[in-house]
């Protein structure tokens, strides 16, 4: 394979990988604090994209305002979702919350079909994000240059919050032992709401970036990316923010390279992601950067 081909495929992998990484961070954050796999994360991602679409095309906001509004509203929605679907089950077995998450996911998807309509909508991509940039022989859309920047900026900000602020300390305490944190006087409800808010904010940002890259909205658009980013988070070590980023890039890289080097198997592209999940769970269930946490008695 020629070097320009390899470079183009590398650029494609980085572009896709950084998108997966961005969304996986939100997934992993919620799991880290609540031990909850928020299956509705992909649908919050979809909501962010749709709100941005309506802000720009129906309310005719300039894109920067529309995006901020979409991210803000989606973050609020995430907090509301937690309040309504997960908090009442906080003291129930973990499986109940997981089922509630699956139910919330189906509810949001089908509400989306009813409210937004089942037919896909084209997103009006602003020129800043839609221009094709040529770096030598490699062609890349400008939004693909923004995404890794956002991903790493957010990673840095989140790591700083988690490790160097009081809120972050409260988050780490809640993650270690929720009841002990409660006893120590930490307002656990506030910490959880904050986590969900941030997680949903990231999902919305991911949704908007995704739509800028693949400008086709439909109410079920969150399912596959949600699943793939869940896989990315698990591969990297679920609960670990750095792991989510690593997992995202790894998954994007594997997906693109499989299609590039084994074009006959490109129909199995999604299957590989799931096979990878199974392999990781069998060989190193805590993921690449995860630590095996013994169940505390």
């Amino acid at each position: 394979m020629s070097s320009s081909l390899i470079l183009q495929n590398l650029a494609n992998s980085l572009s896709l990988g950084s998108l997966y990484a961005l969304i996986a961070i939100g997934y992993t954050m919620v799991y880290g604090i609540l031990r909850l796999i928020n299956f509705a994360h992909g649908d919050i991602f979809m909501l962010g994209a749709y709100i941005a679409f309506y802000a720009v095309s129906m309310f005719l906001m300039p894109w920067y305002a529309g995006f901020v509004v979409a991210i803000g509203l989606t973050a609020l929605f995430g907090i509301l979702l937690e309040r309504v679907a997960y908090r009442p089950l906080r003291d129930s077995p973990r499986i109940s919350v997981m089922i509630s998450a699956i139910g919330a996911s189906f509810l949001i998807e089908n509400l989306g079909i009813v409210i937004f309509g089942g037919r896909p909508k084209g997103f009006p991509v602003p020129d800043l994000f839609g221009t094709v940039v040529h770096l030598g022989s490699v062609s890349i859309v400008s939004v693909s240059l923004f995404i890794p920047v956002f991903t790493f900026a957010i990673l840095a900000v989140l790591l700083w919050i988690v490790n160097h602020t009081k809120t972050g300390m409260a988050m780490r305490a809640t993650s270690t032992d929720l009841d002990a944190a409660r006893i120590m006087g930490i307002d656990v409800n506030r910490v959880v709401s904050f986590t969900f808010g941030v997680g949903s904010l990231l999902a919305a940002l991911g949704g908007i970036m995704w739509t800028l890259k693949y400008p086709q909205l439909n109410p079920l658009m969150g399912i596959m990316p949600g699943l793939k980013c869940f896989i990315a988070a698990v591969i990297g070590g679920i609960g670990n923010i750095m792991g989510a980023v690593l997992g995202g890039f790894l998954l994007g890289f594997i997906e693109i390279m499989i299609v590039a080097f084994l074009p006959d198997l490109s129909g199995y592209r999604d299957a590989f992601a799931f096979v990878l999940l199974i392999v990781v769970l069998l060989v190193k269930p805590s993921g690449l950067l995860g630590k095996h946490q013994a169940e505390k008695v």
Binding site: L5, R119, P120, G122, N218, I256, V259, S266, G267, R269
Partner: protein, 394 residues
């Protein structure tokens, strides 16, 4: 918790049981009601949600319009009101089987119209055959929909013909000698049409290696950068991408983003407003084959259809809407000729359809239940579908 008195509990259970029985009776009763009154049910088996939603919605537009203009049918001297029952197959093969089962078992429809998407029609095939309820496909072009199934018909041409239409265009108009095919491997239509195109193109160029590569993607995929990077490296004269509009718009867009300037050719599934809405400037100049062009009305029915549609929707209809319109009319015509709603006799009446003037052309069904129709080639010009030429059937 306060102990609820035994009397209260028992009454609650009895009340719940009564309510359930009444509810079930009401539901069950509804089905026999239709058979007794003068109502004929026509099942509309279409994807209203999912990847094929736009195609389904457009066909339903045509069927509903025909139903508005022809709300009743006279069978054996008695006039019946025609009621449309829509069953959403959700663009999913499994759901398609469920939806078809619902139409024939619970709704007890007399005839089924649909579906957009050959895979979905094929999923319903065994069900309508077993239930002896004839089905009329509107725009599903894969030959397997009707092959070996006496109860499935269609009012459109089939892909062995459509493949040659685009292969001819590629060879004679685009002067292409080498092509790359990008197909939706989980979609029977896409795989079938790609094969017919490949066979025809190889024959026209006399070159067995005229197809440089067949690149695959799955339904629902959004990232085609790897496949397109490969296509770019092969440097073909033309790229044939007969997939659904959902993915195809993104394929063409990403191709242009990668710097691929090769002409893109496709099939009838491209003709939806979403294709241009999502693809925007990148789909300018793409060429595809389809069933009908409003610029070229073929029969008197075409004019009736166009007038009624323009009056109601104030825009131009898609080709599959005209086919939906035709499907409904063919069903009614067959009911009249059969003089009965009996499945087997109705099937025979549909099979005998000859020189029926549809909005999208004259319909004569052959031994397989397929119609021999001309194809129309369109392109995207200035953000609109524009008619290029008509190709007569072989």
């Amino acid at each position: 918790m306060k102990k609820v008195s035994a009397v209260l509990r028992v009454s609650a259970y009895v009340g719940l049981a009564l309510a359930t029985v009444l509810f079930l009776a009401a539901c069950g009763g509804g089905n026999t009601k239709a058979a007794q009154s003068n109502v004929i049910k026509i099942g509309v088996f279409e994807p209203m949600t999912g990847a094929n939603a736009a195609g389904g919605a457009m066909e339903v537009e045509g069927i509903k319009l025909a139903n508005q203009l022809n709300p009743t049918v006279t069978i054996g001297g008695k006039e019946y009101k025609v009621e449309l029952v829509v069953a959403d197959n959700k663009s999913d093969k499994v759901e398609a089987a469920n939806a078809a089962q619902r139409l024939v078992d619970q709704e007890k429809v007399t005839v089924v119209l649909g579906s957009w998407g050959s895979s979905l029609s094929m999923a319903a095939g065994p069900i309508v055959k077993d239930a002896k309820v004839p089905a009329i496909g509107l725009s599903c072009t894969n030959p397997l929909v009707t092959k070996g199934n006496d109860y499935y018909f269609r009012v459109c041409f089939i892909d062995p013909f459509q493949g040659t239409v685009m292969a001819n265009y590629a060879f004679s108009q685009t002067k292409a000698k080498k092509a790359v095919i990008i197909r939706e491997v989980s979609n029977d239509y896409s795989v079938g049409l790609a094969k017919f195109f490949a066979d025809s193109f190889k024959k026209l160029t006399g070159d067995d290696k005229a197809i440089l590569a067949e690149l695959n993607y799955n339904t629902g995929d959004q990232d085609f950068s790897a496949q397109l990077t490969e296509a770019k490296s092969l440097n073909p004269d033309v790229i044939f991408a007969p997939g659904n509009y959902t993915e195809s718009a993104l394929v063409v867009k990403q191709a242009r983003e990668l710097g691929i300037k090769t002409p893109f050719l496709g099939g009838d599934t491209w003709e939806t407003p979403e294709f241009i809405d999502v693809g925007k400037a990148s789909v300018e100049g793409t060429v595809f084959s389809t069933f009908f062009a409003t610029e070229v009305p073929i029969t008197e029915t075409s004019k009736i259809f166009l007038d009624a549609y323009r009056k109601q929707y104030s825009k131009e209809p898609a080709a599959v809407t005209a086919l939906g319109f035709d499907g409904y009319l063919v069903a009614l015509d067959a009911l009249k000729r059969a003089g009965t709603t009996d499945g087997a006799k109705l099937r025979d009446a549909i099979a005998a359809t000859k020189d029926f003037p549809g909005a999208a052309g004259m319909i004569t069904l052959d031994a397989n239940g397929d119609a021999s129709k001309s194809a129309v080639i369109k392109t995207v010009k200035d953000g609109k579908f524009t008619y290029l030429t008509t190709v007569q059937p072989m």
